[in-house]
């Protein structure tokens, strides 16, 4: 990853603050986990896991989703109690009955899913994380100091509901730093940041390391880990499989340790004809968000051709949900011709009428949106297919047809499950994702709109899903992929557009794009490039 260089002055400012002399040279472990085991029902999330973190080190905890990383750090932070094993702090066994005890030792944690309170102000959010009973005005003052010192600007009186995702993460980090932690745990912190924001975060983390603090950095992004961390512990299926210095490893070797098997690359033919007719056209779409905390769409234009995969990149919360709703028909567009499907204006049509026009949709949230958690897979086949799959006869539901459909999806997409027709929540993330993607692809749609197709699924499932999207497009269908995973978009998309604060950039062919350019677009920079060319035609 290339530096943008904007963070150098901040670094110097930080170094002056709170440096702890002598800590960096010490090689006594700061925290050790010994044979930690934690079960959830029959699932062993952590199986005798050992972990050693030294002061002045950025230690990576690598693993796929579901490998047990979050469980391990929740035990270190006192959120989960281990079933077996113990935790040592500076060599002495400690009990961590709750996060307050962990914080008292000097452990701070930044959560993957933020633990913020939207309705409260920044200062109130910070005060809640502090263990002393300081008046709010005093908290706000300290907050200003620390955020200035680390170059993480924050306005104490603002309501959190008005902040961007990046700013929210800043609150999380600042409120940890205000407790002067000796171990800072970050759970997948970069999944919501632009590449440039990531670089800023890495600079902050290096500063913390140089101050003698330890950082436990959870990620599954290999390049990041190689650039940032001095040590790594790799988890697979709840067990430690490897310890290494990631700087001496290649991304491929780290990936092998993490996944255990070789993951096949997505196969795609070099020559793809993407000059087919326009299948989906969105023109000048303005759509106020139904969610008061959401992002309204402003003048969105896009064209999607037959046989093409168009990627929409962007940091979460920039209008992706609204765009998906507008294209799928979950939200009604203000004009019928704002969304045109195969030449027909469908802006006022509901999702099922668009499905009957051979469109198919996969939303981001597997459980609760794409699938009803407590319903069986066959009933979940009915969720998306009651209008278009012939599951009804004479007004009555045909259970056997739905079951047959489940069987077809299962075999075509390698959905692994125990019983024939389990509840959706009983499937693992990867298998459920294969089901909800397969449920749509098996219909052979002409248009597939899919959001975060491989978010939080294991590498094998991700590879299979991406391959199936590519195959679908090669068969002549149009595919729109809305994703925050740039690697994914670079791997499968023909063109990529970026969504930022509800506006969509022009779409550029992938081979003309660099990661940095996309990163700038994701942060709203590069205004010259962000001018959509399509406006001329509109």
């Amino acid at each position: 990853m290339v530096k943008t260089g904007r963070s150098a002055p901040m670094l110097r400012a930080v170094c002056r603050v709170q440096a702890r002399a002598g800590m960096t040279t010490q090689r006594r472990p700061l925290v050790q986990a010994e044979a930690l085991t934690r079960r959830f029902g029959d699932l062993v999330a952590n199986d005798a896991v050992d972990l050693t973190v030294y002061p002045g080190e950025i230690h990576a905890l690598l693993g796929e989703n579901g490998a047990g990383k979050s469980t391990l750090v929740k035990m270190l932070y006192g959120l989960l109690a281990p079933d077996e094993g113990r935790i040592l702090w500076e060599g002495a066994p400690v009990a961590l009955p709750d996060p307050t005890a962990a914080r008292a030792l000097g452990i701070g944690m930044v959560f993957q899913h933020f633990s913020l309170f939207d309705a409260l102000s920044v200062a109130e959010n910070v005060a809640l994380a502090l263990d002393d009973d300081a008046p709010l005005a005093q908290v706000a003052e300290r907050l200003r100091e620390v955020s200035r010192a680390y170059g993480l600007p924050l306005e104490p009186d603002r309501g959190v509901w008005r902040l961007s995702v990046g700013e929210r993460q800043r609150i999380e980090i600042v409120r940890c730093l205000m407790q002067d932690p000796r171990l800072l745990i970050l759970d997948e912190p970069t999944s919501v940041l632009t590449p440039q924001e990531c670089d800023g975060l890495f600079d902050t983390l290096r500063t913390l390391r140089d101050e003698g603090r330890a950082v436990l950095y959870i990620s599954h992004k290999l390049d990041e880990v190689r650039a940032l961390c001095e040590a790594a512990t790799i988890l697979r299926a709840g067990r430690v499989v490897e310890r290494c210095d990631p700087r001496t490893q290649s991304s491929a070797s780290l990936a092998r340790m993490m996944v255990g098997t070789q993951i096949s690359d997505v196969r795609r033919s070099a020559m793809r004809d993407v000059s087919g007719p326009v299948r989906l056209r969105v023109s000048n779409l303005d759509l106020p968000s139904e969610d008061p905390q959401g992002t309204s769409l402003k003048g969105v234009n896009l064209e999607l051709h037959a046989g093409e995969i168009l990627g929409i990149a962007g940091v979460a919360g920039n209008g992706q949900d609204e765009l998906f709703a507008a294209i799928s028909g979950e939200a009604e567009a203000p004009r019928a011709d704002a969304v045109v499907l195969d030449g027909a204006p469908v802006g006022h049509e509901g999702i099922n009428r668009r499905r009957r026009r051979s469109a198919a949709f996969v939303p981001e949230e597997r459980l609760g949106h794409a699938a009803a958690p407590r319903m069986s897979l066959s009933e979940n086949a009915l969720v998306a297919g009651h209008a278009s799959n012939g599951f009804l006869r004479g007004g009555l539901i045909q259970r056997d047809r739905m079951l047959g459909w489940v069987d077809s999806v299962t075999s075509a997409f390698d959905v692994r499950k125990g019983p024939r027709d389990p509840e959706a929540r009983d499937l693992s993330g990867g298998n459920l994702q294969k089901f909800v993607v397969g449920r749509e692809i098996l219909r052979k749609p002409d248009l597939l709109v899919v959001m975060q197709p491989t978010w939080g699924v294991d590498a094998g499932a991700a590879s299979l899903i991406r391959q199936s999207l590519v195959d679908l497009a090669q068969g002549g269908a149009s595919v729109l992929v809305i994703s925050q995973d740039l690697d994914e978009l670079f791997e499968i998309a023909d063109r990529v557009a970026v969504i930022f604060t509800g506006r969509l950039s022009a779409a550029y062919p992938v081979r003309e794009l660099t990661r940095e350019r996309v990163g700038l677009l994701m942060g709203g920079a590069d205004p010259a490039a962000a001018q959509p060319e399509m406006e001329e035609s509109a």
Binding site: A48, R374, I397
Partner: protein
């Protein structure tokens, strides 16, 4: 040491049946204790409450008479509760149904023909439906809390009934008693057997149960109701509109409550008077939950609750227990159902804290 809840791997169908049964058993055990505390002979009291009502043919007919409105209302409420629409004003819809149907009877008294009875039934159902649509439309349009609106309307309906039977609809020959005329034969539901009060209404209730069992299990509408309740966002993804469904289920549930009201008026009470309902609309809430929000379940639960209803009336006379005792049992029963649901779907696990000083167990690699 602390308790945690874990979902049982096999929730299974048996749990769905076991939970209400267990709740009934726990309620019986608790009532034995309460009877004993009140200085009653528990066995005798149990027999009054649960056995005497079903010990003869007349008693069985009475059970059917009481179960009919309970089952009708509960089936409708089950649809509402399943889809997260909290209609707790069925009592009001029941009364309005009785008023609308009864109004036809009062109006046609002495000159109406065979058309009176069908017209009454339709008027009652429509009246209940219209009354239920008030909270439904306010919820769908403005997201006004349907619990409070539907409940407030119960008091309004109660006062309206009171006004009618003391005012414009009072029986002129009734010695100034606050009640309407006794309905003529053209406005009374035919009895099924002689020597009892069981009437066609019970057959209607049975037909409603069968129809809605089919709707819930086999039709898209039934699926929609379940999906909206369980996963509202997935329901939207399926193209279902939750506001339209709110209107639909309230309309159905209001119509069924109204139908129950007019059946009670024309089949059982045969006039309108204050205190017309012994709280069927509220008791039906318990019936719906005890019946697992399932139409057939509501039928079984309705019969059981009807027995305790009669038992409560008998106990008032025989044991001189306050009639409110029945409410105590009903509240207790609902508590037990809700508790059993949790206990059967989840397993309580006692977790002992790990001793931080303990060394890892031998055989574990370190």
């Amino acid at each position: 040491m602390r308790l945690t809840m874990e979902r049982r791997a096999e929730g299974g169908k048996w749990a769905l049946l076991l939970s209400p049964l267990l709740a009934v058993v726990l309620t019986l055990v608790s009532s034995v204790v309460i009877f004993w505390l009140l200085g009653q002979d528990p066995l005798r009291a149990l027999s009054v409450y649960f056995w005497q009502p079903v010990s003869d043919a007349y008693g069985l007919q009475e059970v059917a008479v009481k179960a009919t409105p309970l089952v009708l209302i509960a089936v409708g409420l089950a649809l509402c509760f399943r889809s997260n629409n909290w209609n707790i004003g069925a009592e009001g819809q029941f009364l309005i149904g009785a008023i609308c149907g009864g109004g036809v009877a009062v109006w046609a008294h002495g000159w109406g023909g065979a058309w009176v009875l069908p017209l009454m039934l339709v008027a009652g159902a429509l009246g209940g439906m219209a009354y239920a649509l008030i909270p439904a439309i306010l919820k769908a349009r403005l997201r006004v809390n349907e619990i409070l609106v539907s409940l407030m309307l119960v008091y309004v309906a109660d006062l309206f009934m009171d006004y009618l039977v003391r005012g414009p609809w009072r029986d002129p020959m009734g010695f100034n008693m606050p009640q309407t005329v006794s309905f003529g034969p053209e406005a009374t539901l035919p009895l099924l057997f002689t020597g009892g009060r069981m009437n066609i209404g019970s057959v209607i209730a049975l037909a409603v149960v069968v129809a809605f069992a089919l709707v819930m299990a086999r039709t898209l509408k039934g699926f929609e109701i379940r999906l909206v309740g369980q996963a509202p966002r997935a329901a939207r993804f399926a193209g279902f509109s939750d506001t339209r469904l709110t209107i639909t289920v309230f309309a159905i549930s209001g119509a069924l409550a109204g139908l129950a009201g007019v059946i009670e008026a024309s089949g059982t009470v045969r006039q309108l008077l204050p205190g017309f309902s012994p709280g069927y609309g509220f008791t039906a809430i318990i019936v719906a939950f005890l019946g697992r929000l399932n139409p057939v379940g509501c039928l079984i639960a309705g019969v059981f609750i009807a027995i305790t209803f009669i038992g409560g009336e008998n106990a008032q006379i025989i044991l001189r227990l306050p009639r409110d005792m029945t409410l105590v049992f009903q509240g207790m029963l609902l508590f037990y159902i809700l508790a059993c649901d949790t206990l059967i779907l989840y397993r309580l696990r006692v977790v002992r804290p790990v001793d931080p000083g303990a060394t890892p167990a031998p055989g574990v690699r370190s």
